[in-house]
Amino acid sequence: MGRGDRVFAGVATALAAAVPLLLVAIVLLLMADALPAVQRYGLGFLTNSMWDPVAEKFGAAAYAYGTVVTSALALLIAGPIGVGCALFIAEYAPASVRGLVAFLVDLLATIPSVIYGLWGFFVLAPVMRSGLEPFLKNTFGPLPVVGALFTGPAVGRDLLVAGVILAIMILPTVTAVSREVLRAVPDTQREGMLALGATKWETISKAVLPYARGGIAGALILGLARALGETMAVTMVIGNSSTRIQASLFTPGYTLASAIANQFTEADKAIYFSAIITIALVLLLVACALNILARLLVWSVSRGPGAGSVRA
């Protein structure tokens, strides 16, 4: 290896090695800055819903609740529709349409978050307030258990709208990964089912989807991970006001991410910063964990299902 080779290889290796170092630096720095808050509030930070900067009481439970509810809602909507889209593209669409639809769905992923927020704020929210939310309130509000989700004034800037916007944003992720997964299912599985006299849907539901279920789960988890970290679109439609945990989807609130965006520039005390950075750390760790889990699941489908496993 000549000198030129050594230098070049050295540079490439150094820069590449800088990448894991970067991640380590991010985690360590956030941990260091979060330490004061963690030491002071401990686990109560996540279970306490009282967030009072003046009195130096920081409990992010309401924010965590907002994140969980909006992300769950997003997954509930984007899951079936995203997988449905993927199935349409992979199994149903004629050749002429397939490329176009795939391209258009991928295009959704390229729209910046702030533009989703803009659209959500000026177009979706008013439509929700004047149309969908009263409809939901009148239809489901009176029902016993479910009704609690649809009570209270429906202003159009609440957990529900945030959930819907998030659903649109994670749809392309769920579809794209699901498409990859479906492509990894061998054709012989489909043929085996068809040869037994199955309809197309039966082939999909009994052979293709069970085979791909790990990967589809991975797609959903990746969508979830994306939803968790979404900041701008959410912060523009979620209201950012109340910090009480209430059952109704019509309540405005915060998510962990939107809380950071909203309050960061207002923070004045060290402990205030520390509390916000703790939130950022939590978001980061959860996003990483979900990402790892999802990739393991997706990877397992292309490897093929394990032999000898008990029927689940």
Partner: protein
Amino acid sequence: MGSDGGPRLEVDSLSAWYGERKAIENISLTVAPHRVTAIIGPSGCGKSTVLRCMNRMHEVVRGAHAEGKVSLNGEHVYAPEVDPVRGRRLVGMVLQKPNPFPMMSIFENAVAGLRLEGGHQQRELEEIGEHALRQAALWHEVKDIWKTASGASLSGGQQQRLCIARAMAVEPQVILMDEPCSALDPIATARIEELLHELKRDYTIAIVTHNMQQATRVSDFTAFMLSEEDRIGRLVEFASTPAIFNSPSESRTQDYISGRFG
């Protein structure tokens, strides 16, 4: 050709295309009742295409279509009022690479076809499943684990017998096999060839094979196909197996059999 009562599949002037490309032309043969009919020929000559037209699996590929007549016991399989999905129930298929459903147990695999049509009690399913597995000479090897082990946990030869059982459980009239042994070792192959002799008592069988010795071992009738420079598969000769291999009437048949090309 045998004139026994029994399921009979007739192919008459069958041609098939993949999009614009013609794959086979003007194929006519009879899959005789309770006999094994083999289709042989060099690779790429369209043997599998002919087989797949028999249960309308050919048209599953986008842009593929076929013309001509295929009839099962006199019923036209390609008639417009026939739903291919229902037709496939009558004609079972076993593919080259064993394809058990890995997410299902051996039992579930065996009765997968029955579950599609519904209306069977658990007891009934277990009986039919066991019967099919016995017919496929697999029962004794799996009877202790058939409900707990995945279909994919078996060896290659066992998987293929499971696929055969799965095809038989729905009681088709004809069984199609597309090079069923080419992915298996010689011992597994021998077991399946043994199986074929017993199966033809109850079923009519068509088998595609690139192994001429296999054709002589298992089949009663043989169709020899060839594709020329235009890559369109045509039927060269169709006769009883002894006639084809001992005294073929076409010189091309003679050349293929004696290994001049392949």
